[in-house]
Assembly symmetry: C2
């Protein structure tokens, strides 16, 4: 499972062989999460049409949602100007976050800038009964 040479040639994987991947809901525009891909994860994503990452904590290929069922169908894969960041536009089949929140970015700096506060919509419990 390797990347086409013309694809691999423009991605600047870092010294760990990774590139950060921003995951955005293709329909709502919500930024769901940030994860990391190596060449194998990008190749698996292209081959299957579902988001795959490299789990830095487990040191293993990570098919997002393989356990939870909350997979992400990939609509588009974009690369930034200097090739060291990827943007995935996806159709999520459930919450992106392991906490059950729709998106991982559910803490926001308070207006005074002195603390993080949970956003009112998170953790997202709308999906608990549908799961």
């Amino acid at each position: 499972m390797t990347l086409p040479p013309a694809v691999a040639a423009q991605v600047r994987f870092d010294e760990r062989g990774l590139v950060p991947a921003v995951v955005q809901d293709a329909h709502t525009g919500q930024v769901l999460m940030l994860a990391y891909m190596n060449a194998e994860a990008l190749a698996a994503t292209l081959r299957t049409g579902e988001a795959h990452f490299w789990s830095r904590s487990r040191g293993a290929l990570w098919h997002k949602g393989a356990t939870s069922g909350n997979t992400q169908r990939v609509v588009a894969v974009r690369l930034d100007c200097d090739g060291d960041a990827v943007l995935l536009l996806v159709e999520p089949r459930g919450p992106a976050c392991h906490t059950g929140a729709q998106a991982c970015f559910f803490r926001e700096l308070a207006p005074a800038g002195d603390a993080w506060r949970p956003l009112p919509f998170a953790p997202d419990t709308r999906h608990e009964h549908a799961a």
Copy 2:
């Protein structure tokens, strides 16, 4: 210029002292760029209300748009579930990308998955005459 302790405590800067920051247009939802912040850049962003990053290539604090005029007014700062990624919602005063494109993610994988192709809207030349 330091971060409030309650803010710093929940951000997991990596071994380089950096955290990736996704920058999203607060109004259109477009993901504009990905850059990196250290504690100083986050503190400068909070203090000024304008996006600051750490330039890895220059090894210096980077006030986005200080030279080009394309600054980013920060509407909200969010933190992800495990504290190792930041999301900035901004009002951009011009294109985010040094190429003149509105956003840095202007290459997309062709449907066959064998090459990157420029998106039709990029590089964005709408701003060339307004600059």
